[in-house]
Amino acid sequence: MNRPRRLGARLVAPQEVVADLAAEVIGVAGYGLGTPTSPNLPSEPLDATRWGDFGGSMDEQRLWGLLARAVADGAFPVDGTQGQAVTEGHRAAVAGCLRLDRELVGLAEAFASEAVEFRVLKGVGSALTLYDDPAERLYGDVDVLVAGVDFDRAAAVLTALGGARHSPDPQPGYVARFGKSATFDMGGAWEIDLHRTLALGPFGLAAGRHDLLAEPARIVEIGGRPVPVTPPATALIAAAFHTVLPADSRRVVPLRDVAELLRPGRVDPVRCVALAARWQATVVVAAAIEVATAVFDLPVWGPLQPWAASYRPSRLERTWLARHHDDHPAAYLLRTLDEVRALGSPSAGGAYVRAMLRTASADPEPWAHRAGRLAKAVRPGSS
């Protein structure tokens, strides 16, 4: 049974999503949304010390595009040297994106020839469908989503294209059924993340039980070739996962994607809420919408924002969400139990446990590592 949320309580604190980001970085991340981000933008050029850190953040957060626009609009004052750095930083980042696009076109052709259905996640899909100017949305790899049943065939296509898988499948079919994704290094120049679901942990496993390609693809033209990208409702759910449940370094760009998708008319709210419910991702979507609205001070653009603000998570959702953000070893153990439950049936849960045990017995080092974590859980004071 769902319990009412305490007044003013948020599903996820915005600070968790934008932790350690300077105000001017958040200002750039929100630039062009038509919201009052100006308090976060400087009124005069940053001094050399702050500029050094700021430039590093622009690289790490992939924000040169939005900064270039803010500078061109006169909204972010820079001196001559800084202006040149913005131009060069943006050009270098765009060059990287164009090279990734070229590789994606080749990948799309290879998938088409093997009849592998896929969607481009984030990246160029967001750039071409959500932003005023595609050059504002930068990316550093190619993410594609396939159905679990097609995962191993898709992986074979990537291998045939010269891709070197970072981590081999711990056992045949494991990632296709229980994993999140596999990363392929393409000649040392770029990477492809091949996804079969949207996140690690119980939310990702629960979503991965369903057809994540159910919403008809949106087709964009890249280099003259039609390429399927995630359609709006799926894109919002995927961006929400990436915002609230990041698997690696936390970036603010997915949060900006969430904000872009909240603009009027972009997402069918009924379809989005229905898909999120089917994929057991409702609390993730509601949390991401709440955080985007708070961080970027968005106006109410549509019904999804009041829906998110009033959403009352179930006890199970609260538990899963809290444990996702808890690094304590005990939470790790409990999250594994959550994952078993997320698989939805005793047979699937049993298969997951057996697969994990087989993986662990085949590779004693991770098992020892895990055992160490369990020991920590028993004796939390130990280090």
Binding site: G65, A68, R69, V71, A72, T87, H90, R91, V94, A95, C97, L98, R99, D101, R102, D133, P134, A135, I222, G223, G224, R225
Partner: protein, 89 residues
């Protein structure tokens, strides 16, 4: 040899070009992996070529610009053609 550029010549942006418009110019990925930056009036020319356009139409468009940019248009089109970024027919 490139065809002569005349008023009736149709100029077409390469359909498989990978490019972005930025505040400092249009960046296009060339065949040799180099990034070509098209600035100034060239950037405007690239953006106008969203559809195949005759030289006569381009001349009229650029003559109407705040500063008459039609001077040098033929040279600009020829440069883009030499880079393989536009086709002439």
């Amino acid at each position: 040899m490139a065809p002569a550029i005349e008023a009736t010549t149709v100029v077409s942006r390469r359909s498989d070009a990978l490019w972005r418009d930025t505040p400092s110019g249009v960046l296009v990925l060339g065949d040799d992996d180099e990034i070509i930056c098209i600035e100034g009036a060239g950037r405007l020319l690239w953006l106008v070529l969203e559809q195949p356009t005759t030289m006569a139409e381009l001349s009229a468009f650029f003559a109407d610009a705040t500063n008459d940019l039609s001077v040098g248009l033929e040279r600009g089109v020829a440069d883009l053609a030499a880079l393989g970024l536009v086709g002439l027919a």
